[in-house]
Amino acid sequence: MDGFPILSLMLLVPLVAGVACLFADAKLARNLALAATLVDFALGILLWASFDIGGAQWQFVERAPLFAGFQWALGIDGIALMLIMLSVFLMPICILASASIEKRVGEYMAAFLLMEVLMIGVFAAQDLFLFYIFFEAGLIPMYLIIGIWGGQDRIYASYKFFLYTLLGSVLMLIAMLWMVNEAATTDIPTLMAYDFDPRAQTWLWLAFFASFAVKMPMWPVHTWLPDAHVQAPTAGSVILAGVLLKMGGYGFIRFSLPMFPEASAQFAWLVFALSMIAVVVTSLIALVQHDMKKLIAYSSVAHMAIVTVGLFAFNVQGLEGLMIVMLSHGLVSGALFLCVGVIYDRLHTREIDRYGGLSINMPYYALFFLLFTMASIGLPGTSGFVGEFLSLAGIYQVSSWVALVCTTGIILGAAYMLYLYRRVAFGDQKNADAAAMPDISAREWLMLAPIAAAVLWMGVYPESFLAPMRKDIAALDARVARAAPLGDARLKLSEPTKNAGHAQDEHAAHGEAH
């Protein structure tokens, strides 16, 4: 594979197809989009197969200077590889899920294909400004998808989405300009090894945090997510939950941690506090939702909080755990939105109480829904467990308080998801129209079965996914080791004394009280 620009090709294929879609009729646009995403998926498999585990950190590197120091620089490590795989895996499924779109199909497909270009671009970019362009441009197609093909309140939702995400971006751009000026390079791998002055790190970290926290989303800047999800069409929700939310986590793991380790340690208490609040508060909010999509959206916020605590645990388990949580959540919440879409297409309502007893007339649907529900609440044997378990094991080493509060998520998560499942799939059939819905079609099987297989694969043999990332995570762990906090749970063979990790713990608990 040496020298062959496979990453550029993966960007080019959907781009060309997307442009073509603008000029195609509805049927052709659908086929074109499906073909292009499948080609990209095939290229993704090729990418994964030819990725040299344990080889160079950055592989498939492409460099082409463009103008004024700005360069076309692509390349991936194991972390980026996995996220690219997630994106290209979900895209054909999204196209399949868009069968009910009838308005402006060509433009719709074009928007999705452009979205794919930008998503892959974010994970593959090696140049700071290139990354910024991909990262921010991702807003535009999603804004259009929600604003044009969304539900009733789509305009409000799309503006809210735009407003929130734009706010952080401006701060991040300023920070990037400062960094380039300071380090005299836009090359991301170089920047990752550059030691910024710890005082400057504080400001840079906060600027990046503003952007990534919104994308994540972390409490309290999460309120755009429920609205965006509720209004977005099914496939839009899948991409939003599946990939766009992962950009925040990717940003933290690619920029905040390696570039500003000291600041990361300094602000860990803030992240822990917000995450602990998120786990408890958003889980409780999810419990009282009447709208299926809103419920799942709030559950996403709670799950992403497990990602952020894993990030700032400063150890291998936390980092690997959060990556698996991100991959797993991408699959599972995507699948849950698809499950909502399946019945939304039949009944055109997301109101939970309009359904009931679907196990009777849609048994296979109920089975898939059950599997994804269980994966969402982290049942061992599914992908959700592996990620959650590792992340929480990681955080336990730092603070048992944070671990305790975040682990309550497994109780609350079970409560709201099973309550949802009970109202949708169990109970007696209350409404004749819901009772008359047919079971999933062949097309819907094609959407749900691959995700189900991936969820179980990741749950039973996660090594396939951990192995490519292992070396990169070890490198990152080594990079941040100098700032790693002392855990409060450490074993002591002598008489009890107070230790340093304890103070941090109090900060976290204190922060939560605010």
């Binding site: 503006y159 407003l163 929130y164 309290p220 800047v221 309120t223 508060v281 409780l284 909010i285 999810a286 419990l287 009282v288 939702q289 291998v316 388990q317 690997e320 009777i360 269980m374 049942l379 061992p380 044997g381 467990f385 592996v386 378990f389 590792l390 929480l392 094991a393 336990y396 048992s400 308080w401 671990a403 305790l404 682990t407 309550t408 497994i410 109780i411 409560a415 099973l418 309550y419 009970r422 799939a425 169990f426 109970g427 007696d428 039973v460 043999y461 996660p462 951990l466 762990d477 409060d488 749970a489 450490r490 074993l491 002591k492 063979l493 009890p496 230790n499 304890h502 713990d505 608990a509």
Partner: protein, 672 residues
């Protein structure tokens, strides 16, 4: 071979579950039942191998699972004496329950799903008991939880069944929180999740170290064991986390027998025994186990005395018997705990399946107030239920012969007394009193169900049945409605089909002989356990030398309980009502299960929903949205409103602004 035992049920579950209507009822039932009988047939030789001393403990690796830094765990199947005991218990009861369900679920419309769930449960339970590391144990732990959830909610059209299913899962998750933190802590301390490695290192840690937990520094082994035990409390329905078990009776009766009596609920006991060397290094945790076990044993027995639902009586009885097992483990008699687990599996499964046979005969009526006089109508069920009752109440003569519970329960009480500690004595006293109550409620069940006069006429279920029957009879013969003054309402209970009776009869063999045959093996033979559990030889010695009155106590209290039950329900059936009238408050307290459900509802369930609404309406919408995006939008809208006014389009106003700007600029330059 162990792979076949564990994975045959999984394979069968997948075939039956995914094939479902495609392969049809009979195929699905045959596949799952055959899979279980295969597992069972392969398990007994392993167990007998350990009993005769010819088998060796070993581990069969299956697949790598997770490796993250120093945290790694794999899929593997471990077999030793402790696992072997569980293997025969699980596969035997499960195979019999599969067979029983052919008859019991005959009329159900969804049979493949039911059998698939049963087999899936068995697989998860087998993964739990063959676990070589804590995480695989947790896998099985959650897997059985899932199967339990699905089976409790099997009749998902009933709101009560759905509620019970969710309750079971969520309450168990509270325990799992402890289990998970316990695993994290254990890994942090020992840097491994492998059970043998942890157990090898544990004794050296006794009192030698402290660990930080929630800001305090506490003894390492104490905190780890208590956290793990919280997991056990959830799964084994111990006091505080027991509320899900009685509600779980919403599931079909075969499920209650398999999951909520014989196997899953004993997982906690199994865990404590499996980790016994670890618990031995934490005396405080063991004291905690003893207290919780003894209290549960007492609490559940009191509640069991005044329930009317036949299944709930047995459910509380299960809860109480689990308490015995825990305090046995707490005082260090792990062999006795496992022995009681073993015998209990047979007689409690028997009692549940027998109750199922009664319910089947009485057209789904479960309220014992509408039973009576059934011994003449369903004699086989009556005799096996009697055998089960003799076993649970522990009938026997020292040195001659006894039913299963006679050996195991006596061993536990003697061990508690023999341990010589104050807590042990307390556990002995509570346990003995609970034994009295056990005898009372067990015989009460038998007397209410099988003796006295028929009281069937009051039951709606029976009335429906009779009505339907008459309807058919009217069509056929044309004779009118007969008046039955004998309380039978004209109903004729029928004995269950052989597919149900054979499993019960097989189990009754276990209930009668399991104690007599295996007493020596479980209690006295260290070579049988061979390191699989912590074997306290000193305690075994002490329990054989307890005073005579201690040895006689269980028998005495059993007789007293029997006498009270006989006196109240046969000799003078008006007595219970008079008693209730005299002690109204006490009765209400016990009848309402000590108000645990009401308390939890008040403390946790309603506040959770209330808080959720507040965080949503006030937090997210009222504050964050209002001052965040909506606020920003408001500011922009207001601002642009002003800007709009400025852009009036009149030349003179623009000229004025230009002039003012020019003046300002010039002054700035001049001042500078």
């Amino acid at each position: 071979m162990i792979q076949a035992i564990v994975f045959a049920p999984l394979l069968a579950a997948l075939i039956a579950g995914l094939g479902n209507r495609m392969i049809g009822n009979t195929a699905a039932k045959a596949v799952t039942t055959a899979g279980l009988f295969l597992s069972c047939a392969l398990s007994w030789p392993i167990f007998i191998g350990f009993v005769t001393g010819s088998a060796e403990a070993g581990v069969t690796p299956v697949l790598q699972w997770v490796q993250s830094g120093t945290l790694s765990f794999d899929w593997a199947l471990r077999v030793d004496a402790l696992t072997a005991v569980m293997l025969v218990v699980i596969t035997t009861v499960s195979a019999l329950v599969h067979l029983y369900s052919w008859g019991y679920m005959e009329e159900d419309l969804d049979q493949p799903r039911f059998f698939a769930y049963l087999s899936l449960f068995t697989f998860a339970m087998l993964m739990l008991v063959t676990a070589d590391n804590l995480v695989q144990m947790f896998f099985g732990w959650e897997g059985v939880g899932l199967a339990s959830y699905l089976l409790i909610g099997f009749w998902f059209k009933k709101p009560s069944a759905c509620a019970a299913a969710i309750k079971a899962f969520v309450v168990n998750r509270v325990g799992d929180l402890g289990f998970m933190l316990g695993i994290f802590g254990t890994w942090l301390v020992f840097q491994t999740t492998s059970i043998p490695e942890i157990l090898a290192a544990a004794p050296a840690m006794k009192g030698a170290s402290t660990i930080g937990f929630l800001g305090a520094r506490v003894d390492t082994m104490t905190v780890l064991c208590i956290l793990l035990f919280i997991g056990a409390m959830g799964k084994s329905a111990q006091l505080g986390l027991h509320t899900w078990l009685p509600d779980a009776m919403e599931g079909p009766t075969p499920v209650s027998a398999l999951i909520h009596a014989a196997t899953m609920v004993t997982a906690g006991v199994f865990m404590v025994c499996r980790l016994s060397p670890m618990f031995e290094a934490a005396p405080v945790a063991l004291a905690f186990v003893t207290v919780i076990g003894a209290l549960t044993c007492f609490f559940a027995a009191t509640v069991g005395t005044c329930q009317w639902d036949i299944k709930r009586v047995i459910a509380y009885s299960t809860c109480s018997q689990l308490g015995y097992m825990f305090f046995a483990a707490g005082v260090g008699a792990y062999g006795a705990a496992m022995f009681h687990l073993f015998t209990h599996a047979f007689f409690k499964a028997l009692l549940f399946l027998g109750a199922g046979s009664v319910i089947h005969a009485m057209h789904h009526e479960q309220d014992m107030r509408y039973y009576g006089d059934l011994r003449r109508h369903i004699p086989i069920t009556f005799w096996v239920m009697t055998a089960g009752t003799l076993a649970i109440t522990g009938v026997g003569v020292i040195g001659v012969f006894g039913f299963a519970g006679f050996y195991s329960k006596d061993a536990i009480l003697e061990a508690a007394f023999g341990s010589g500690t104050e807590l042990g004595t307390l556990a002995f006293m509570l346990g003995s009193f609970a034994a009295l109550l056990t005898s009372f409620y067990s015989w009460r069940l038998v007397f209410l169900t099988f003796f006295g006069k028929p009281r069937w006429a009051g039951s709606e279920h029976i009335q429906h049945a009779v009505h339907d029957e008459h309807h058919h009879a009217d069509d056929a013969h044309g004779h009118g409605h007969a008046d039955h003054g004998d309380g039978t309402a004209g109903y004729h209970p029928h004995e269950s089909p052989w597919s149900m009776l054979v499993p019960i009869l097989v189990l009754s063999v276990g209930a009668v002989f399991a104690g007599f045959v295996f007493n020596d093996t479980f209690i006295n033979r260290e070579s049988f356990w061979n390191g699989a559990i912590f074997y306290n030889e000193h305690l075994i010695h002490a329990m054989h030398h307890v005073p005579l009155w201690v040895k006689l106590t269980p028998g005495m209290v059993m007789l007293i309980g029997l006498f009270i039950a006989w006196n109240n329900y046969i000799r003078n059936p008006a007595l219970p009502a008079a008693f209730v009238n005299n002690f109204r408050q006490l009765h209400a307290f016990v009848y309402n299960k000590w108000y645990f459900d009401e308390l939890y509802n008040f403390l946790f369930v309603r506040p959770a929903f209330w808080l959720g609404r507040q965080f949503w309406k006030i937090g997210d919408i009222g504050i964050i949205d209002r001052f965040g995006p909506n606020g920003a939008a408001w500011v922009v809208a207001r601002g642009s409103g002003y800007a709009q006014k400025v852009q009036s389009g009149y030349l003179y106003s623009y000229a004025l602004i230009m002039l003012l700007g020019l003046v300002a600029a010039i002054s700035w330059v001049m001042v500078k």
